[in-house]
Amino acid sequence: MKDAFDVTIDVRGLLNVPAITTLLSTGGSIYQTERPSGRGAFTDIVINCLGITNEPLQKGSGNVNCYVPAITSGAAKVANQPAMMTLSRAVIALIDMQFKTTFQTWIEDTPIIMQDTDGSYFVNIPFEYQSVQNNFKNI
């Protein structure tokens, strides 16, 4: 049986590769569930799980949030859209339609740019997850 921890661990495993880590720049990290506070100057990825069912074919969902430091345009801070686009497209390529040994992932909706409570901009990428249980007993 897979639980919410497995979901974020499995998805982190897909993303913890040079194609992504090289885009995170110095100090950037991939976090599960929560991004520590005070990281507005870093490029980070946060993977969270919204839940997973307990059925023979377990179905779960979650988000990959790609944080990119804001840039200054005139006097205003705005989202760094070119960097967000590059990072989110690299993430999508590694998560969409992935059929692995013990789980599958795919992108549910196309990503959108959002702003966190601390003012950080991030790209929200919702994904779907499913896994077949080996020893399902609930019949």
Binding site: E55, P56, L57, K59, Q130, V132, F136, N138, I139
Partner: protein, 188 residues
């Protein structure tokens, strides 16, 4: 004796059909793994009575009794075990290459079913043996991305002969403890 309460399915096993009560002792059961939740359904088709009332009377002059169709049992399998598949289909299976060739000739599989229920009350569960069931098969959720393909077995319950009375019967139900020990109900 505790009151009867039955529900849930712990496991389902299949074996070649047998036609006498004594056959239960020698049946070789194969467990049907990964039964789809909530698909196990035993239907007892109701009998009907039709009254014939004369025009000038208020009560039936004669009553016709019509037995219902044979009982049916249905369940879905999410795992396609080669041994179970060989029971249900005409096929050629090569274990060395995991290759199954489905033959064109269709098959009505004559199997025995053993259902072990969950222990619902008073540390007891029920083992239901249906020795003679004729199964046909169909497929649900055919290769959908977000569902497991389910092999749906639809069985028509047939009869067997009891040992001591040589009567026609359809099933054997035995109460056992949660650890499968026999329950002696002779003392209240």
């Amino acid at each position: 004796m505790a009151t009867y309460a039955v529900g849930g399915v712990e496991k389902i096993e299949l074996a070649p059909a047998f036609f006498t009560e004594a056959g239960a002792a020698t049946a070789v059961w194969v467990r049907a793994e990964n039964v789809a939740p909530d698909t196990v359904l035993y239907t007892k088709n109701a009998d009907t009575e039709t009254d014939l009332v004369p025009e000038d009377k208020d009560v039936a002059f004669i009553t016709f009794y019509t037995p219902g169709e044979a009982d049916t049992i249905v369940f879905g399998l999410l795992e396609h075990h080669p041994t179970i598949m060989a029971m249900l289909f005409n096929q050629e299976y090569v274990a060395a290459t995991s290759k199954t060739t489905m033959l064109a000739k269709r098959k009505v599989a004559n199997l025995a079913v053993k259902i072990t229920t969950r222990s619902m009350k008073d540390d007891r569960k029920q083992i239901i043996v249906i020795p003679n069931v004729r199964f046909t098969t169909s497929v649900v959720n055919n290769l959908s991305k977000t569902a497991l393909q389910q092999l749906l077995l639809t069985g028509k319950v047939g009869s067997f002969k009891t040992t001591t009375t040589n009567l026609d019967a359809i099933s054997i139900k035995t109460w056992v403890t949660d650890s499968n020990a026999v329950i002696d109900s002779t003392t209240p």
